[in-house]
């Protein structure tokens, strides 16, 4: 119950003198609360003593987190005071008296439970003034590098919470993610501590001098440092240590130096503190202030609880897991494959996904649906095209077979038809021979005969040509504009011998107007042949004088021509008027049942309709329509 806990905590901060008055004022209702409060001791007072003021990394980061962790972890109320050994920034030793006086006044009459010296200068201050600074209060030296601690004199009643920064690991990281690096510029401020660090780093990094050139941008005026950082040669990297104070003594709080450096620098910036991550450094193994602050808080709580400082010997907190700033990786084109295993990549561009999740989801779903619909339509289209192609091929095949069959059935009649001109030619030729033998030869008549022979020959040729067309396999539909009257005439020519043979009087009423249609004329002729053959078959059983077939055309209002083929045959049972067009429907012994089906397929392929009716006087009439093509008047 954190809420219930916070309440008494707040009350406990009240000065103890007011307690009794409060009891009286509030009364018995809050008695138990007040009792529990009274049971608690005074708050634990802790002094955080900064080296450079609160706003310098890493100390700034430390104090904030340390306070958070402390309040979070402590079972007892804590009262945190902060002071800064500002003078530590300056090289010349300043008078520490005012601060000592201030602190002495601050804690006069108040028990100070713990002093936390943040950073080396603060530690030095405590060490120098141990006797005047609540000598019985334990001291924790935090946020101080192991090396600084090692060089400083020990503090009475003090323990250290060291950090270690492995410079080699920092350089190794740079060379790992940017192997082509030839120059590393080290940036460091000009305060005494910073100078210490600069020289320490120079010492440590010497082994690298062979492979990598180090440029020490230390102890420079700020502007010059920036300029030089902006003019680094290619394949350079910047190692930013800290920049608390420049050469002219101007402090740079809150890492403003890093911000400006980031804005100007032409090389990627590396550092060692996780607090800098997100402010322009590429990243690498970083010192985590969160981890360190938690450890420091744990140590502080143990001290507050009365543990002996001897027992508090935490291991130094070193560089933590490698963490990288995704944006910097992008900026410097560093592949994530180069990062050490187990690296964390932070600040991934929240990406469009995070920012516009729902619009993206909605749009994506819409696109997906749309895409699926399109894909499906395309697929369907292809399928239909394939099917159409296939069906057209099949139609052509079936039509061809049907035509061949029809031509075969008609061939006897057609052969007879062919014998007419052949007979005429022979007789004419023989007559001409006889005429030429006569004395004097009747040349005028011979001339006439020769003209007739030519005509008869032409006619024979046409019949043969026509049969060949009917029998020809048609690979593709040869759609052309033609006059349907011509097709009917062609069909009549090929049908009339058969009609004659069967004793059918075949009659075609030719239209007075041209009937322009666009189709393969052989296909339409086939339709007429099929319908006519069907009608003639239907008349096989009727009296010879009844065997009449009429082919008519009529233009109807819908810009269509309607062709009717009427017979006087047996007619069609009412319930079969539709079925006659089905494939394999046949009443004939020899029929394939495909003739009418193919006729329908052909007619419909050209956008027409076909149907059958019974005639009032007996017999059937088959009708089909064809769209008329508009022809530009000549």
């Amino acid at each position: 119950m954190p809420g219930a806990r916070r309440h008494p905590e707040a009350l406990c901060r009240l000065p103890p003198r007011g307690e009794a008055a409060l009891i009286l004022a509030i009364g018995v209702l809050f008695l138990h609360v007040l009792l529990s409060c009274a049971a608690a001791a005074e708050p634990k007072r802790i002094l955080l003593l900064h080296s450079f003021g609160r706003e310098f990394a890493p100390f700034s980061d430390f104090s904030g987190r340390f306070r958070e962790e402390l309040v979070g972890q402590s079972r007892e109320p804590v009262d945190l005071y902060e002071a800064s050994v500002e003078m530590a920034r300056f090289a010349t030793s300043q008078d520490e008296e005012p601060l000592l006086g201030y602190l002495g006044a601050l804690f006069a009459g108040r028990q100070l439970d713990l002093i936390v010296a943040v950073g080396g200068p603060a530690a030095g201050f405590v060490q120098r003034n141990r006797q005047r600074l609540s000598p019985s209060t334990p001291v924790l030296i935090a946020a101080t590098e192991q090396r600084v601690i090692d060089t400083a004199p020990a503090i009475a009643l003090g323990a250290t919470l060291p950090v270690t920064v492995d410079a080699n690991a920092l350089i190794g990281n740079i060379l790992r993610v940017l192997p082509e690096t030839t120059t590393i510029a080290v940036i460091n401020g000009s305060s005494p501590l910073e100078k210490y660090w600069a020289s320490e780093m120079q010492r440590v990094l010497e082994p690298y001098e062979g492979g990598v050139h180090f440029t020490w941008l230390v102890d420079l005026p700020f502007d010059e440092m920036l300029e030089r950082a902006a003019a680094l040669p290619p394949h350079s990297a910047i190692l930013y240590l800290q920049y608390w104070m420049d050469k002219s003594g101007v402090p740079h709080e809150q890492d403003r130096a890093l911000d400006e450096l980031h804005a100007r620098a032409t090389a990627p910036i590396f550092s060692y503190l996780d607090a800098y991550l997100g402010r322009g450094i590429v990243g690498g193994p970083l010192l985590s202030m969160q981890v360190y602050s938690r450890r420091a808080a744990q140590a502080a709580i143990r001290v507050l609880a009365g543990e002996s400082l001897i027992d508090i010997r935490p291991t130094p907190t070193g560089l933590g897991l490698p963490i990288f700033d995704w944006r910097e990786l992008q900026r410097w084109s560093i592949s994530e494959a180069r990062l050490p295993p187990g690296s964390i990549v932070a600040f991934r561009e929240p990406g469009a996904w995070v920012r516009y999740r729902w619009p993206i989801v909605a749009v994506s779903v819409a696109l997906l649906v749309q895409g699926a619909v399109i894909a499906w339509l395309i697929f369907e289209r292809h399928r239909r095209q394939r099917a159409e192609l296939e069906s057209r091929k099949r139609l052509l095949q079936a039509a061809h077979l049907n035509r061949s069959a029809a031509a075969g059935a008609l061939s006897a009649s057609v052969a007879h038809e062919l014998n007419q001109p052949l007979g005429a030619i022979l007789s004419n030729a023989e007559a001409a021979e006889m005429l030429l033998d006569a004395d004097p030869p009747d040349l005028a008549q011979v001339k006439e005969i020769l003209s007739d022979i030519r005509q008869a020959d032409q006619r024979a040729g046409e019949i043969i040509q026509h049969m060949r067309e009917l029998l020809k396999r048609r690979g593709e539909i040869d759609a052309k504009l033609f006059d349907l009257n011509d097709t009917i005439a062609d069909a009549m020519r090929i049908l009339s011998p058969e009609a004659k043979k069967r004793g059918v009087v075949l009659d075609a009423e030719e239209s007075r107007t041209p009937l322009p249609v666009r189709a393969d004329h052989i296909h339409l002729e086939q339709v007429i042949l099929n319908l006519a053959a069907n009608g003639m078959d239907a008349m096989a059983g009727v009296e010879p004088q009844e065997r009449k077939m009429t082919i008519k055309t009529a233009v109807n209002g819908k810009a269509e021509v309607e062709v009717s083929i009427a017979d006087r045959g047996s007619g069609i049972p009412k319930d079969k008027l539709e079925a006659v067009f089905d494939s394999f429907y046949t009443t004939k012994q020899q029929g394939t049942g495909l003739g009418l089906s193919i006729a329908r397929t052909i007619v419909e392929a050209y956008g027409g309709r076909i149907w059958a009716e019974n005639r009032a006087g007996g017999g059937a009439v088959f009708r089909f329509t064809m769209p008329l093509t508009k022809v530009q008047p000549a």
């Binding site: 006897a412 009649s413 052969a415 007879h416 038809e417 062919l418 014998n419 007419q420 001109p421 052949l422 007979g423 005429a424 030619i425 022979l426 007789s427 004419n428 023989e430 007559a431 001409a432 006889m434 005429l435 006569a438 008549q445 005969i449 007739d452 005509q455 008869a456 006619r459 009339s496 011998p497 009609a499 004659k500 043979k501 004793g503 009087v505 075949l506």
Partner: protein, 212 residues
């Protein structure tokens, strides 16, 4: 060559009709052309010697039907069928119905002319037979009723005695009638008389009468 035999050409194909006509005319025949069977029945003069060159397949009245109708009216004109189709049932019907020939188009001149010559010979033969028959009928018609009765019984093989009995007369009278009849018919034997009777179709009648 017999002069001026008339050849009737019936064919619904004008070009063929004309070609055959030219050929036949060049060969010296008279030719009459008809575009259909009906046309032939209406327009032809069938008194002259000749024959018919007939297309088997014609719309309307076809060749076989025309042949049947001509047979009915006792036409003497022999028929040569000319067809584009070698149709066996049709040719059998045609020949059984007395067709002179059954030719297919295109027809060689020799075949056609030979067929026509045969047909004309057949015509002449039919014509001769018909004329002989006519003269026999004329002679029979000169017999008196009694002579005719006696003649009828004689050719049926009856003896004079039987005839006299049948007619209720004397044998002598029968002999006189019989002699007169034989004289009129110009025959000297019973066999010759019987032959005449047979040709005129009198034998069957007599027999039937016997049976009846």
């Amino acid at each position: 060559m017999q002069a001026a035999a008339l050849i009737h050409v019936v064919d619904d194909d004008m070009s063929f009709r004309l070609a055959v006509a030219r050929l036949l005319r060049a060969a010296g025949y008279e030719v009459a052309l008809y575009e259909s069977g009906h046309h032939f029945l209406q327009r032809s003069s069938r008194t002259a010697a000749g024959c018919i060159v007939l297309d088997l397949n014609m719309s309307g009245l076809d060749g076989l039907e025309l042949q049947r109708q001509l047979n009915e009216v006792g036409s003497l004109l022999p028929i040569i069928f000319l067809t584009g189709r070698g149709d066996i049932p049709a040719s059998v019907t045609a020949i059984k119905s007395g067709a002179e020939d059954f030719l297919t188009k295109p027809v060689a001149k020799e075949a056609l002319l030979a067929a026509i010559e045969r047909a004309l010979a057949r015509y002449r033969e039919r014509q001769g037979r018909r004329e002989a028959l006519h003269s026999l009928r004329a002679r029979v018609s000169t017999l008196t009723p009694r002579e005719r009765e006696v003649f009828s019984l004689v050719v049926h093989g009856k003896l004079n005695k039987q005839i006299a009995f049948a007619l209720g007369t004397s044998e002598r009278t029968v002999k006189a009638h019989r002699h007169a009849a034989m004289e009129k018919l110009g025959v000297s034997s019973v066999a010759a008389a019987a032959s005449i009777a047979e040709r005129l179709g009198m034998l069957a009648d007599g027999e039937r009468r016997d049976d009846g």
